[in-house]
């Protein structure tokens, strides 16, 4: 059961990611990114991270992707034109990607002692997670809330209309 679920949702994940690269219209890319994120939520659940699976659906597939689709529709983004891109990307970027993937894959496949995942493995409950989060890691948690607040202010300041623009350049 675990194997079948893993293969199905890992397949969805890879298909969505490849489709993101192949689509030329941004809205299609955004929709395939939602597929990737929802199937990742299922994989988190298979690994016993129930809270993260819920947060992945709510925060990533929900909030962030709604923001993306909203901006795509607001700016009326059209099909992208395909160009060759920079020479640096062609000569350094792609060989570097292949090299990094090869190195990581070799290391992972040669690592001893990596365990297996089963459906009967325990689930990390939200209770355990919050016990650590609200005792040992309370300060980072509060700092992140300040970060979110600053991000909201920054987004409003950046995207909001200029005062000069509204008064006609005076």
């Amino acid at each position: 059961m675990h194997l079948i679920l893993f293969i199905v949702f890992a397949g969805f994940c890879l298909a969505g990611a490849i489709n993101l690269l192949l689509q030329s219209h941004p809205i299609n890319s955004a929709l395939s990114l939602i597929v990737v994120m929802v199937s990742l939520a299922v994989l988190y659940l298979l690994l016993g991270a129930e809270f993260l699976a819920a947060a992945q659906v709510i925060v990533y597939a929900g909030a962030i992707m709604v923001l993306f689709t909203f901006v795509i529709m607001l700016l009326n983004a059209s099909r992208e034109e395909r160009t060759l891109g920079s020479r640096a990307a062609l000569r350094v970027g792609f060989p570097a990607v292949v090299a990094i993937l090869a190195i990581i894959a070799t290391v992972i496949l040669h690592t001893q002692g990596l365990g297996v995942a089963r459906l009967s493995d325990g689930i990390t409950s939200t209770e355990e997670l919050s016990a650590v989060l609200f005792t040992k890691l309370l300060l980072p948690f509060e700092v992140t809330s300040v970060l979110i607040l600053i991000a909201i202010l920054g987004a409003v300041a950046l995207a909001g209309h200029d005062e000069r623009e509204r008064t006609g350049g005076k």
Binding site: L33, A49, A151
Partner: protein
């Protein structure tokens, strides 16, 4: 039926999937020519890394790996808000989303 339910998946497969997702994100970052899709490729890279965090949290039965993913999600939400605001500001100034035409800071 019992053998069917007790099938197990090696954690290295999860790690490989996360590495492939990250690489696809990098490739998207290099080949996409639209500012928004470039930004989406960055989100794809973040998701790939998150998967390996959750996998290692499962491997060592540690809660901290999952909490790190939680923090990454919050930072990604802040990053998406600010990044999309910057994209809106760029679009208002240059009236284009093609990265080839937003190359003022390119050497």
């Amino acid at each position: 039926m019992n053998a069917f339910f007790s099938q197990e998946v090696p954690l290295s497969w999860y790690l490989l999937l996360s590495a492939i997702l990250f690489s696809l994100g990098v490739v998207g970052f290099l080949i996409k020519r639209n500012l928004i899709t470039v930004f989406m490729s960055i989100e794809l890279m973040l998701n790939g890394v998150n998967l390996s965090f959750v996998t290692f949290a499962h491997q060592w039965h540690a809660v901290k790996g999952q909490i790190f993913v939680f923090f990454v999600m919050m930072v990604a939400a802040a990053e998406a808000a600010v990044g999309l605001a910057i994209i809106i500001a760029v679009f208002r100034a240059r009236a284009t989303l093609a990265v080839d035409r937003i190359d003022l800071m390119k050497l």
